[in-house]
């Protein structure tokens, strides 16, 4: 009961804060749209060079995929790793740990509020892209339904994994390198460069096995209508498995890191 009331209060505060950063949020959105558009243009040109489609994706399919990917990207964003490292370095972590509520809770609220407030601004941009590249969606109603748990799982996975990475800030101040490496791996294996099925065999195998594909590609492809029922269920299952694994990894590393942190001193 108490947790609910705390969450409610945090939501209100967070919405008020989000209102302050309206302009900045719109600008950040513009930036988020650039990369998918760049690759969409490249794939469209490539598909056209190959007579209209590559690996089962027409230009319209690519457009639909990248529109869905951009949406999923925005809905699953998690930036806590960056903030956390800064807080540890600035010595702002210690007071937060003293509070009875785990610091994670506030960031959950902040995260959700940001996405809710920026979504209305993103949609027109997506419509523009879909129109410019003639997107062709093959979505069926059941896929819309399955999309919901899939994108929530993806968001949770990205969130937890982000905190897992961030926890290494307990040991090193050079977490930037780790985070940039993480970004680049996500770039390659999560579906930004290409839908996973179009990656060359060794990379594709890697991406199906690792958690990164389930952060972006999975819900995007489901939303686009590119998966059969069996495939969608399998994918959802993989997302959940990775969610649990990541959460376990995070808890272990966080606890170890906390011990290390308090031993060394704030």
């Amino acid at each position: 009961m108490r947790l609910q009331r705390i969450y409610a209060a945090m939501f209100v505060a967070s919405f008020q804060q989000a209102a302050q950063y309206r302009v900045q949020a719109v600008l950040w959105l513009l930036m988020a749209v650039v990369r998918p558009v760049v690759f969409l243009a490249a794939w469209s040109a490539a598909a056209n060079a190959q007579g209209g489609s590559i690996g089962g994706y027409t230009v319209g399919d690519f457009a639909a995929y990248y529109v869905c990917l951009t949406l999923v990207s925005q809905l699953t964003m998690a930036w806590d790793a960056y903030d956390f490292e800064w807080e540890v370095r600035q010595g702002r972590l210690a007071p937060k740990l003293l509070r009875p509520l785990h610091p994670v809770h506030y960031t959950v609220v902040e995260n959700i509020v940001y996405k809710v407030t920026t979504l209305p601004a993103l949609l027109p941009a997506l419509v523009l892209i879909a129109w410019t590249f003639q997107a062709h969606f093959q979505t069926q109603p059941w896929q819309l339904v399955v999309f919901v748990p899939s994108v929530v799982a993806a968001a949770a996975l990205r969130f937890v994994f982000g905190w897992f990475i961030a926890s290494f800030a307990f040991w090193t101040t050079r977490i930037h390198a780790i985070m940039h490496l993480y970004d680049r791996v996500v770039f390659l294996l999560a579906g930004q460069v290409a839908p996973l099925s179009l990656l060359p065999a060794p990379l594709a195998l890697l991406s199906y096995a690792l958690p990164f594909g389930y952060m972006l590609w999975a819900p995007a492809e489901i939303l686009r209508g590119g998966m059969s029922f069996e495939q969608a269920m399998l994918t959802l299952g993989a997302q959940l498995v990775w969610l649990v694994l990541s959460w376990l990894a995070y808890v272990v590393v966080w606890r170890l890191g906390l011990r290390q942190f308090s031993a060394v001193g704030a």
Binding site: M31, R35, A46, T132, F133, R184, V193, L198
Partner: protein, 261 residues
């Protein structure tokens, strides 16, 4: 010349500072390698499905990617940090110290913080260009090299002009960092030739955000695919842009110092 000596002094002092943080330098280098490598893989993935994109072969695409990193690297070496610091100067009120010195203020604020340490990215870019050219197998003679160097300088200058104009807006509206951040992110579009983009995007990337032109034209030049008309247009356009940007800077400066407009 005096300004060359100044430039080298700027480079020295900034480099000394960077070297103090050797570990960071090495990490930055490692990150660069990762970034370039993953970008190369991305291009390879694309070309595993097709031999040619809009008339660009794999080798030519690698050349383009190389030019992309060349331009990225060059602008972060020459003026990126300096112009960021300029906007801080306006915020903190320390621009006056620069204006009161007997030096050209545009030069000072554009190059004070030359980051020689970022040359690594330029070298990677150059390396990629070499690899790409070898892949393509075309002959690279004096004409190609000269037009490459010229168009590269023009491309860099075009990016400089846009960034300078955006930074100059700081004279009127102090919160310009966001505007610049968007611009930097749009540079990402330069990793592919400007002609893969549909209509209105292509126009934007050839004018307002000239990264498309800045990267594609030199890539064409070194591959021998740039005719004299294109070269002339690039040169004329860059000079015009530079004149405009410098003029706009003067306007901003006069406004700041309260000269009657």
């Amino acid at each position: 010349m005096r300004y060359l000596r100044l430039l080298s002094l700027f480079a020295q002092t900034e480099f000394q500072f960077a070297v103090e943080y050797r570990a960071n330098l090495l990490l930055d280098l490692f990150e660069e390698v990762v970034v370039v490598a993953t970008s190369l893989i991305a291009v390879a993935v694309l070309f595993s499905h097709t031999g040619v994109i809009n008339g660009w072969s794999l080798g030519q695409m690698i050349v383009l990617l190389g030019v992309y990193y060349l331009i990225q690297g060059a602008q972060s070496v020459v003026f990126e940090v300096s112009l960021e610091r300029f906007m801080e100067h306006i915020r903190l009120g320390t621009l006056d110290f620069i204006l009161i010195k007997p030096v050209n203020s545009q030069f000072m604020i554009s190059t004070r913080h030359v980051q020689v340490a970022q040359l690594a990215q330029v070298l990677f870019g150059l390396g990629l260009v070499g690899v790409g050219v070898a892949q393509v197998g075309s002959s690279v003679g004096a004409r190609e090299v000269i037009s490459f160097v010229l168009t590269l300088a023009c491309g860099l200058s075009l990016v400089y002009c846009v960034v300078l104009v955006l930074a100059t807006v700081a004279f009127w509206a102090t919160r310009v960092e966001n505007l610049l951040a968007i611009f930097w992110s749009f540079l990402d579009a330069g990793r592919f030739p400007v002609d893969v983009y549909p209509g209105w995007l292509r126009v934007t990337l050839s004018t307002a955000v000239p990264i498309g032109v800045a990267v594609t034209i030199p890539a064409q030049a070194v591959a021998g695919r740039l005719d004299n008309l294109g070269l002339t247009l690039m040169l004329v356009g860059s000079v015009a842009a530079f004149i405009f940007a410098s003029w706009f800077w003067q306007v901003g400066l006069r406004n700041y110092t309260g000269a009657s407009a």
